[in-house]
């Protein structure tokens, strides 16, 4: 069965090549003469005020966690996409399966409405 993944392997290799080759080429072909001034962080010509690694706002976290939740929701829909045709062909259970997925979606849509109304998606 592994040969089925040959295109994926080719894809990964080509992708890696595209990502890595320019970096290497740039390093090999371009002139490279660093000095202290060139390597220091550029801040409009001033000396750097503070560390570049500053704290992120907690709201990024909220965005990320909401993203995970809806990402998971999508993951639950993939199997549905693959089998729904089969259920329709078999007849009797199509509506049940459709209903179960719709209930699943409805619950999360209610969550979405609530968080939207409460301003969790606003960025003040």
């Amino acid at each position: 069965m592994l040969e089925n993944y040959f295109p994926v392997l080719v894809f990964i290799l080509v992708g890696l090549g595209f990502g890595v080759a320019p970096v290497i080429l740039g390093r090999v072909l371009a002139p490279y003469r660093p000095d202290g001034e060139k390597l220091s962080p550029y801040e409009c010509g001033f000396e750097a005020f503070e560390d570049a690694r500053m704290k992120f706002d907690v709201r990024y976290y909220l965005i990320a966690i909401l993203f995970i939740l809806f990402d998971l929701e999508i993951a639950f829909l993939f199997p549905w996409a693959t089998v729904f045709q089969e259920f329709i062909a078999a007849g009797e259970l199509a509506w049940f399966v459709f209903g179960s997925v719709m209930v699943f979606l409805a619950i999360l849509v209610i969550g979405y409405i609530v968080e939207w109304k409460n301003g969790a998606l606003d960025w003040e």
């Binding site: 592994l2 993203f67 301003g119």
Partner: protein, 200 residues
């Protein structure tokens, strides 16, 4: 060595290396990126086991979403590593002793004798056209419809909890409401006042 076995060992070695780096890397952002590498290799191993759906989910959910969260959290917390590492060396002997003991015990119990190929026979080879995702779909929305719906409620709990804990309205934030801006009329902004002409 069969090619499949080679692929397995290839992925497994990178996985173990990446997992080790996750806990040994000094920079937490690097640790998180090594975790991404570990997830990729784990999903490759799952592909070898023909668990395609899980493999894709791992990449999509963990690499795509959970790692974003991890990176945000790592950046949000502003971890001071030197303070975290205090006491590391003094705890190391006890910690490693216990760790090694547990590993040995688990290896004794869970070794090949009980989990070997003869104890757990391999599942029959799937027929042509077998799809792991489709097999899951056949039972997920029928036999397992109860936990499926509950899963959405668990996601809802997480959503409510996240909003309740992190969403705080700041007082005194000034921001623009575009719909109010657009809806503004002349009357709301300009007031014409009658006044007697000033003599000069």
């Amino acid at each position: 060595m069969e090619f499949k076995t080679f692929v397995f060992y290839f992925l497994a070695v990178i996985l173990v290396f990446a997992a080790l780096r996750v806990i040994t890397a000094r920079n937490p952002v690097h640790a998180a990126l090594y975790l991404v590498l570990a997830f990729f290799n784990a999903s490759g191993i799952w592909l070898l086991l023909q668990a395609e759906f899980l493999a894709i989910t791992l990449v999509m959910v963990y690499v795509g979403a959970v790692m974003v969260l991890f990176l945000f959290v790592v950046m949000m917390l502003d971890i001071n590593l030197d303070r975290l590492r205090q006491g590391f060396w003094s705890y190391l002997p006890v910690g490693s002793l216990i760790g090694v003991l547990m590993a040995v015990e688990m290896a004794m119990v869970l070794g090949g004798r009980y989990f070997g190929l003869d104890a757990m026979p391999a599942p029959p080879d799937p027929q042509a056209g077998y799809s792991n995702t489709r097999e899951l779909g056949r039972v997920l929305y029928t036999d397992y419809v109860y936990p499926f719906e509950l899963a959405s409620l668990v996601l809802l709990v997480a959503m409510v909890a996240a909003v309740a804990l992190t969403l705080r309205k700041r007082k005194g934030t000034k921001y623009i409401n575009p719909s109010e801006q657009v809806a503004v009329k002349r009357e709301g902004r300009v007031e014409l006042v009658k006044m007697p002409a000033e003599k000069d």
